[in-house]
């Protein structure tokens, strides 16, 4: 292990802002993007369920 303490690790030799600013942004975006992608799919599924239900209702009314 090259770090003597946790605070030394956090300090990144004086480059904390730049190193953690980079890794933080990366982590944040890589959490948000999959959530958005999954939400898009579940939205599509909800829409589809509604459409199919509406179509079935139409068929029943025609009888």
């Amino acid at each position: 292990m090259k770090w003597n303490s946790f605070s030394e690790f956090l300090a990144m030799g004086g480059h904390a802002l730049y190193v953690w600013g980079s890794f933080g942004a990366c982590l944040l975006l890589m959490i948000v993007e999959p959530i958005l992608a999954k939400a898009r799919r579940s939205n599509a599924l909800t829409e589809l369920k509604r459409e199919i239900a509406a179509r079935k209702e139409n068929v029943n009314e025609n009888f």
Partner: protein, 249 residues
Amino acid sequence: MSNRIVNWFKFASPQTFYPLAGKMIPWFWALTAVFGLVGLYIGFFVAPTDAQQGEGYRIIFIHVPASWLSMFIYLIMAFWAALGLGFNTRLSGMMASALAPTGALMAFLSLWTGALWGKPMWGTWWVWDARLTSELILFFLYLGFIALQSAIDDARRADKAGAVLALVGVANIPIIYFSVKWWNTLHQGASVSLTRSPSMAQTMLWGMLLMALAFWMYSIAVSLTRVRAIILERERHAGWVEELKELKS
């Protein structure tokens, strides 16, 4: 041979690809986690402090993978776009659309981490240098592709217009890649090249390669998730969609 062609066309149909993608996604997430954790461990705990840049150089472990992927994803996106334009296959356009936001994210990360690396090392967040400018153009190409596609209501026409833009933009990729050779730039030359041995410590190189693999697996996982959403959106009138078990509950 003919057998193989038939098989590829089979997987090129949204109906076959949708469940296949669903099965593959968890595996790509698992690979992302494994490569990412090992890569981060090497990047933060094994790789030595850089003689010139101190600890600040550790940004390389996301800057280089994000930059590579931003270019690589663009090439894959353009490949699918060209395939869609040439063969009029439905899935191709959906793949291209699914890749664009992830490519844009990678290009953004490349620029963002580059700025945060440039400030302490060069003393500036940004310069209008050939490498940085061409990467910025790449970011705008992704945004342009997304904007163009969302401006056209008819999905097939949106695919065609997007494909033309994507193919024209391919010219920018070699410009980014060779910019550090062709012009005198502030940006350093390639750390890893195909023609000579890497100019960096072995452990740094391994950390970077593992992180690049993690980013690659991440990109596949998230764009497969997105392509599944796009398939549902576009194929909503197809009979097979109604038969999906996700819709039965």
